[in-house]
């Protein structure tokens, strides 16, 4: 899991489990392959979500 300093998704990322990082990598790979562009009703947001997940991956390194 992800450990944040402060509020989840708002605070600084302190650590990311290796198994969780692997899940993130896989999710990004699969969603990119599938061509998912929207995750919820309204504005395109899959790219923003991917960016956030990439930041978690970076923090896990």
């Amino acid at each position: 899991m992800v450990v944040y300093e402060g509020d989840p998704r708002k605070g600084k990322v302190l650590s990311v489990d290796l198994s969780y990082a692997e899940r993130i990598r896989r999710f990004l790979e699969v969603s990119q392959k599938a061509g998912i562009t929207h995750l919820r009703e309204g504005e395109p947001d899959a790219a923003a979500n991917a960016e956030w997940l990439q930041s978690l991956l970076k923090a896990s390194e």
Binding site: R23, V30, K33, T37, L39, R40
Partner: protein, 556 residues
């Protein structure tokens, strides 16, 4: 042209066509079919049958003949010629649509008896008749024949099952079919393909209008839903005429707002615009005059409030406006319809008012529990059920706007599988004439979306069709060796919401509580097994797409 993945053997057309060129057809087949209870349409890539249409068929009837020709060739290897009734009749014809030859065999045939989409499939002597109403009956008859008698399936825009049949014979039958609903729309990105929609016999509102596909229930472009502000843009009217807009607690609201529905000038402006749009779009049959989305600022002026109070519903003010416009445009446009919403604050039916005959009321299920049958006596759906029954009593054309995904996060599972057919049967029983099923219309990626789109297409045509048979066929053909695992995934989530009587809504947290850790772990294990089952198959990417949902969930 879309690609088809045939699950049966592929044929080598070159050698077949060479055989066709030299084979004396009349020798083949005649003795074989006339003496039998069955019609032998083709064998070993050859056929003596022709496809016959009228001399000047409609675009959709012409396309129906071409589709039949195409798929019969894919199935049997035989390419049947398409001729018109200008040529003399033969003893072995497949008649598509009304024609002089058809009238010779079946004098009592009447196109109008089949409405816009109904059809007749009948074998008389050695003739196969596929004929129905206009504009879509002939085309849907062809697809009905291919689907119900020859086993063709169009699962997704990319994946079809077209069986290979070396000896293609059909029994004698005489059957009529027509859809359960006049309007059948699946609003789903994965399924927005013109040919997939036509082959699964769905309506498409304003998206596709190709006459070869029979047209559709077509809205005036841009006037599909939530149109109050389109008719009276506040930037154009508000400064000079604030009285056109909702009065809320004594103040006229510019935006977000609604209209002052009892204001005669508002009705006049909308009427003029509707007439202009209908003239501009002669192919459109429906226009929506419906409340803006995202706010509950119905008008509380003296007149609107009095009307709502008398009728016991805020739908009264909307219906007052819509009826007023519908009455004004009816004379010039007797075959067009005005659609409106019964949605959120306007969901309940008025006590005494009735929609005019040229008005379609579209009732939204937005506050329902989508994991429980709407017909249930108790629980969250009771209010909707009462509203549906009330609208049903006063509406000539009643449509439903239904939902089947989680709009707050499309990848979240939405296990409504076990109530989809039940709800459609309930709608039908209560006089509903049209249904829109809204799913993820922005992108691929909602929970097993192609399966849901296909299932809904089949059930919208016939809500009594065996739901589990449709799902099973889809899983077997699309997922192959992973099918039992995907079924286990469906069961896992369906059991969870059913056994724990969980109400499934369409909005909420990205991490709904009902998706507990143990369920996610089980789901993940199922998808691992699914991937393993197809690891050496060419189909191995499909379980991965489904699994995206699981990975999103497991992030939290």
């Amino acid at each position: 042209m879309i690609e088809h993945q045939q699950t049966a053997s592929f044929r080598k057309w070159g050698s077949t066509l060479l055989l066709l060129a030299v084979q004396p057809f009349h020798v083949f087949c005649a003795s074989d079919s006339t003496d039998s209870d069955k019609l032998l349409l083709a064998e070993q890539g050859r056929s003596i049958y022709r496809i016959v249409t009228a001399q000047n068929p409609s675009p959709s009837t012409r396309f129906a003949a071409e589709e039949l020709q195409r798929f019969l060739k894919e199935i049997s290897g035989a390419e049947l010629s398409i001729v018109t009734d200008a040529v003399p009749p033969s003893n072995q014809d497949i008649m598509v649509g009304d024609s002089r030859h058809l009238r010779r065999v079946l004098p009592e045939f009447e196109v109008k008896a089949y409405g816009e989409e109904g059809y007749l499939l009948r074998v008389i002597d050695d003739y196969l008749i596929i004929a129905g109403g206009q504009p879509r009956g002939d085309l849907y008859g062809v697809y009905g024949f291919l689907q119900d008698h020859l086993g063709c399936r169009w699962f997704t825009p990319q994946i079809s099952k077209i069986p290979g049949i070396d000896r293609l014979e059909i029994p004698r039958f005489d059957e009529r079919d027509s859809p359960a609903f006049e309007y059948r729309e699946v609003m789903l990105f994965d399924c927005w393909d013109t040919h997939w929609i036509a082959r699964n016999r769905l309506s498409t509102s304003s998206r596709y209008t190709d006459p070869a596909l029979g047209g559709t229930v077509r809205f005036v472009p841009g006037y599909f839903v939530h149109t109050f502000e389109k008719f009276l843009p506040p930037e154009k009217y508000f400064d000079e005429h604030p009285e056109y807009y909702s009065e809320v607690q004594g103040v006229r609201l510019r935006s977000p707002s609604q209209l002052c529905a009892t204001n005669a000038a508002v009705a006049q402006i909308i009427t003029e615009r509707v007439c202009a749009l209908f003239r501009e779009h002669p192919g459109a049959s429906v226009i929506s005059i419906s409340q803006n989305d995202g706010n509950k600022h119905f008008c509380q002026c003296e007149n609107c409030a009095a009307l709502d109070k008398k009728e016991g519903s805020h739908a009264a003010q909307v219906l007052f406006l819509v009826n007023r416009v519908a009455g004004a445009v009816e004379k010039e446009f007797p075959d067009r319809a005005i659609e409106t919403l019964a949605y959120e604050w306007s969901q309940a039916a008025p006590r005494t008012m009735r929609p005019r005959d040229n008005v379609i009321v579209r009732l939204s299920t937005i506050r329902c529990s989508f994991s429980r049958p709407i017909r249930a006596e108790r629980g969250r759906n009771r209010a909707f059920r009462d509203d549906l029954e009330a609208w049903s009593k006063v509406s000539r054309r009643l449509w439903i706007w239904n939902y089947n995904t989680y709009f707050s996060w499309y990848l979240i599972p939405f296990p409504d599988w076990r109530v989809l057919d039940d709800n459609l049967r309930f709608f039908k029983k209560n006089g509903v004439t049209g249904v829109l099923e809204q799913n993820n219309w922005h992108s691929v990626g909602s929970d097993l979306a192609p399966l849901k789109g296909y299932l809904l297409a089949r059930l919208l045509w016939d809500p009594d069709f065996d739901r589990d048979r449709v799902i099973n066929e889809f899983l077997q053909e699309v997922y192959g060796p992973a099918a039992p695992h995907v079924q286990a995934y469906l069961d896992l989530l369906s059991d969870k919401v059913e056994q724990e009587t969980i109400d499934l809504g369409i909005y909420g947290s990205r991490t709904p509580k009902w998706l507990s850790g143990d369920v996610l772990e089980k789901a993940d294990a199922i998808w691992q097994n699914a991937e393993a089952a197809v690891s050496r198959s060419t189909r191995n990417s499909r379980p991965r797409a489904g699994r995206a949902a699981q990975h999103r969930l497991c992030h939290h």
